[in-house]
Symmetry: C2
Subunit: 262 residues, 2 copies
C-alpha cells in the first residue's frame, strides 16, 4: 500500500495511491482513518510532504562505498563509524516533491545531494529489540539530503550546511510492506541516472538504529529516520538542474534546483 | 504577561497566569485566542510543556565563564566560538516542569545540568536583522540542558549525551515583554542556589542568533532557541536530587532526578 498527503482546493487529506488514482481517507494515517468513496486523479492533486516529523533522525554516514568516495575526493581518511550514533536534521529544512531546492546566494559550495531511504514511524515505541524494531514503522519514503560541503567544513555545527530551507526534500509517498534491506535506490540528474545502490549494504541496519535509539528515547508517530546513501553522487548541483530520487515501490521524489540571486 | 499551557480533567488549554490564578484562553497563543471568563487556581491545574516546537535550536556554548570552567574541569582548551553557528536538540527529549529527569541505568556520567534562557518564536520569520529580530519572539521561558559528559566524549554525535527522554525540561511559563539581555537566571539544587548569572554576558545575543538563523532558514511559531548557560553548575546530578531553574518573571522550572535501576 502507498500512502500520500494531498491538497486540493485548500483542503488537505491523506490518501491511498493506486496507480494514477488516489482514494481519499478520512482521518490520519498516524492515528486512525477510514477509507472514503472519493477518488481523485493523482495529477489533479498537489502532493504534500507525506509527514511532518516531530523528530528528524539521520544516520549520516551509513555505507562504505560512499565513505571511500568522500575520502578520495577530499583527501580525508574517514573510517566507517564504530557505533550507530544517530544524528539530527531540522524539520525546518523539509519540503515536498516538486518544491525548489534553493541555494542561497552566498553558498560557497560544492552543493551535493544524497538520495536516501527514509523509515517513517507509525507507533510510539521505546525499548525495542532488533527483532521487533520494524513493528513501529508505518512504511518507507525517500529523502534528498542536500549539503553545502564548504559550510560543512567551516562551521562548528551542520546548521546551514545541511538545514537551509528546502534542503531536505522528502516523499513523494509512504510505501508499506517493504523490506528496508532489500531495495534499490536510484538518483537521477536532469533525467540521467547518476547513482544506483542497494540498501543491503547499510553498515547499520534500520532495525539496529531503531533498537539503539529506543534504548534512550521514545519514537513518536510521524518521526522519520533517514538511512544514509551509498556511492558517489556527482556532478554537484547547479542552478537549473532537476534532481530525482527513485525507488520503484515508493515513487519519484523530483525537485528542481535554483540559485538565489546575490 | 505570562502564558502557560495546562491540563485539567483531560482537557488542555492555554492560560494567562496572574499570581496564583489562571485565566483560561480559547484558542492558541501561537495563532489567535480569546480571553474567557473562566478562572482556575494554578494549583488545581497540571502545568504542561508551554509549547511543542517543530524546531529546537540550541546555542550550546554562549558564555565565557562557562567555557573557562569546562576547560579547567576537563583540562581542555576550548575557545569561545568565532561565529554564531546554531546547534540542534531533539524535541523528543522535552518534558514539563514537575516531570522526572530519568538517568538511564548505563549512563557513565557525570550528568550535568545547565539552566538556560529560552526564546519562544511566535511568528513565522525569514531574513530578519538584529534590529528587528525580536519582532518574531512571543516571549521567554526556561530550559534545563541535561548532558551526560561521558557519552558526549565517546559518541560521534550528541544523541544520547543530550537527548535522552526527559533530558530537556522546559517551562514553566512563557513571559512576554522581557529584555533577553537583562535577566538573572538562577539554578538551585535541593533548594540551595548553586549558580546565578546575568544574560548580558552572552557571547552572541538572541538578536544576533535570530538574524543569522533567518538568513538561511525560516523560524516557525512554537520554535524555541535555547541561549546557553554561564558559570559552573556543580555538583553533578544524582538520584533523588531536585533541580530548579529560576527567573523571577518566568517562574520556577522544577524537576526531580531519578536513576533507572539496572
Amino acid at each position: 500500500m502507498k500512502f500520500g498527503h494531498f491538497e486540493q482546493h485548500g483542503k488537505t487529506f491523506y490518501g491511498i495511491v493506486e496507480g494514477d488514482q488516489v482514494v481519499e481517507l478520512d482521518g490520519s494515517i498516524f492515528d486512525s482513518y477510514k477509507t472514503t468513496s472519493k477518488k481523485h486523479a493523482l495529477s489533479a492533486l498537489k502532493t504534500l510532504l507525506p509527514c511532518r516529523p516531530a523528530n528528524f533522525y539521520c544516520a549520516g554516514i551509513n555505507y562504505v562505498a560512499h565513505i571511500e568516495w568522500g575520502n578520495k575526493r577530499k583527501g580525508t581518511n574517514t573510517k566507517p563509524p564504530a557505533k550507530a550514533d544517530i544524528g539530527y536534521r531540522s524539520p525546518s529544512a523539509l519540503c515536498a516533491t516538486g518544491e525548489t531546492i534553493l541555494i542561497p546566494a552566498d553558498s560557497p559550495g560544492p552543493v551535493q545531494y544524497e538520495g536516501e531511504l527514509v523509515a517513517v514511524v507509525g507507533k510510539k515505541a521505546k525499548n525495542l529489540t532488533e527483532a521487533n524494531a520494524l513493528s513501529c514503522i508505518l512504511g518507507y519514503t525517500l529523502g534528498n539530503d542536500v549539503s553545502d560541503r564548504g559550510w560543512q567544513a567551516s562551521d562548528r555545527t551542520l546548521w546551514r550546511a545541511k538545514n537551509c530551507d528546502n534542503w531536505k526534500p522528502m516523499g513523494p509517498f509512504i510505501a508499506t510492506g517493504l523490506d528496508p534491506l532489500a531495495l534499490t535506490v536510484k538518483v537521477n540528474l536532469d533525467g540521467k541516472e547518476v547513482s544506483s545502490y542497494t540498501t543491503d549494504k547499510m553498515i547499520f541496519s534500520a532495525q539496529h538504529y531503531i533498537a539503539k535509539i529506543t534504548q534512550y528515547t521514545t519514537l513518536w508517530p510521524g518521526d522519520v529516520l533517514w538511512l544514509g546513501v551509498d556511492n558517489a553522487t556527482i556532478p554537484d548541483l547547479q542552478d537549473g538542474m532537476v534532481c530525482e530520487v527513485i525507488q520503484d515501490d515508493i515513487g519519484v521524489l523530483r525537485n528542481p534546483v535554483a540559485r538565489a540571486k546575490a
